[in-house]
């Protein structure tokens, strides 16, 4: 399957530009600047049109309409978690999105709390286990590296005996 996908990727990218010269590099820049020119031209024309039209009619400021419900308060705003909720619900199987709701009373609750959290996949599955095993390993080696002098002398003795054995008995 890997060979198949590699082969098809090679086929797809074979439809690319042939040689890179100065002319070939400049062409996309020119076409992009053409597009930007058109974009800003149309934008300026529309802004002028809108200013002209707005000058003829009244403009006033009022509260946000929002279909005429209660006047908005900061508690009613769309927060970041509520903005992200539909996408997270679509990808529920991948992001482990959990919603916690706490309410008192079943039909006419007096207070209602809603919170949601998403487990950060890279932190939870990649970095955290790695860090935990690294820490355990370091704790284990702490016993070997206590820093006391007799222990270091003992290591020197061990190393010397090992070298002697290796040199003379092999």
């Amino acid at each position: 399957m890997v060979l198949f996908s590699l082969g098809s990727a090679q086929f797809l990218t074979a439809a690319g530009p042939e040689q890179v010269q100065i002319g070939t590099l400049l062409k996309p820049v020119l076409s992009l600047s053409k597009v930007f020119g058109v974009f800003f031209l149309v934008l300026i024309l529309l802004t002028l049109a809108r200013t002209f039209l707005a000058g003829r009619a009244s403009q006033r400021r009022a509260e946000t309409w929002a279909c005429g419900y209660a006047p908005s308060s900061p508690r009613m705003q769309t927060t970041a978690s509520s903005f992200a909720k539909p996408v997270l619900l679509f990808f529920k199987s991948v992001t482990s999105f959990k919603i916690h709701a706490v309410r008192s009373g079943n039909y006419f609750p007096k207070n209602l709390e809603l919170s949601s959290n998403v487990t950060d996949a890279s932190e939870h599955f990649i970095f955290r286990p790695f860090y935990v095993t690294l820490r355990k390993f370091s704790k284990g080696t702490l016993k070997l590296q206590s820093g006391t002098i007799p222990q270091s002398l003992f290591y020197i003795l061990l190393a010397t005996v090992a070298l002697l054995i290796w040199r003379f008995l092999w």
């Binding site: 797809l12 992009l32 058109v38 039209l53 403009q59 309409w65 705003q77 769309t78």
Partner: protein, 302 residues
């Protein structure tokens, strides 16, 4: 080229009128006149506007950017037999992201008002477009494999009579998938109800609740042109032949567009809006259809 842009700009609200008439036909009513959207836009252009106290310059800029982005996207696609004025290698990505730019500003404007309804509509719109862009790019990939070029005008060359005879399943799948994406991008019935009166079921309508006057006129016009641009791409894919006489080609193309608008009207009358978790199934279905077309195209091209 000027004539082409004029045709695009003048003809697009007529298509939404065709959709309205088709829906009325199915419901046994007489329905609004074909030119209803023109009357609406003219009426709104003359009205005053009310701005909310919490909004900033983004709210005023969003309709303008929306119309501009969609008009510039109209410069990039070939319509019928007429070639695109601006084409370069890789302009498909610019095409897709011009729509993304328009959507980005609309979402920001919706969040700018600080109301929860617009925020809800904005978050849903962001979620749907997140999925539909994948499907759109997969369709472009199939067309790129078939035509061996990454430019929109080059991809239309993939749909000659010859490739229709050899690659027909692949092209039919791409057309089906593009039709489903058309419904998603223009907020039509299986995804979102353009005529709903219930705030909780509004998605695109919810985002534009606070715009009024000329701003609302621009937003309606941008919706019409978006339908024309995406539908034009689909129709140009479907037409297997090109005319040398540009007038004749344009007439056939416009007839095809009217037919497409009627088809969208039929789909709108026959289905109800899907539940929100079924909408993701719909978009994934269009993605799987496009991937199936890609596999057929790759298997045959080898």
């Amino acid at each position: 080229m000027v004539a082409r842009m004029l045709v695009c700009m003048v003809f697009s609200p007529f298509l939404l009128g065709v959709i309205g008439k088709t829906k009325a036909l199915f419901a046994g009513r007489k329905g609004p006149p074909y030119l209803q959207l023109y009357y609406d836009i003219f009426k709104l252009l003359q009205k005053g506007s009310v701005y909310s106290r919490t909004t900033t310059w983004i709210f005023r800029a969003a309709p303008l950017v929306s119309v501009t982005a969609v008009l510039v996207a109209a410069f990039l696609i070939p319509l019928g037999s007429l070639r695109a004025p601006i084409q370069f290698w890789g302009d498909v990505i610019l095409f897709a992201y011009l729509f993304g730019l328009a959507r980005f500003f609309m979402i920001l404007a919706a969040l700018d008002t600080g109301s929860s309804f617009e925020g809800m509509g904005a978050s849903r719109e962001a979620a749907f477009s997140c999925l539909s862009e994948i499907a759109l790019f997969l369709n472009f990939a199939v067309l790129a494999v078939l035509s061996k070029s990454f430019s929109l005008s080059g991809m239309i060359g993939a749909c000659s009579w010859f490739s229709w005879t050899t690659m027909r399943p692949s092209l039919v799948l791409v057309d089906l998938s593009c039709f489903m994406i058309l419904l998603v991008e223009n907020s039509r019935i299986p995804i979102d109800d353009p005529a709903t009166h219930l705030e909780l079921t509004m998605i695109h309508e919810g985002m534009v609740l606070d715009h009024s006057g000329p701003d609302l006129a621009f937003i309606l016009y941008a919706g019409a042109i978006k339908f024309f641009v995406l539908g034009g791409f689909l129709i140009t894919l479907l037409l297997p032949f090109h005319f040398y006489n540009p007038a004749m080609g344009t007439v056939v193309f416009l007839l095809g567009m009217v037919f497409l608008a009627a088809a969208v009207g039929v789909v709108e009358s026959a289905m109800a809006r899907l539940r929100l978790n079924r909408v993701s199934t719909f978009i994934i279905g269009s993605f799987v259809l496009a991937s199936f077309g890609l596999m057929i195209a790759l298997a045959r091209a080898f």
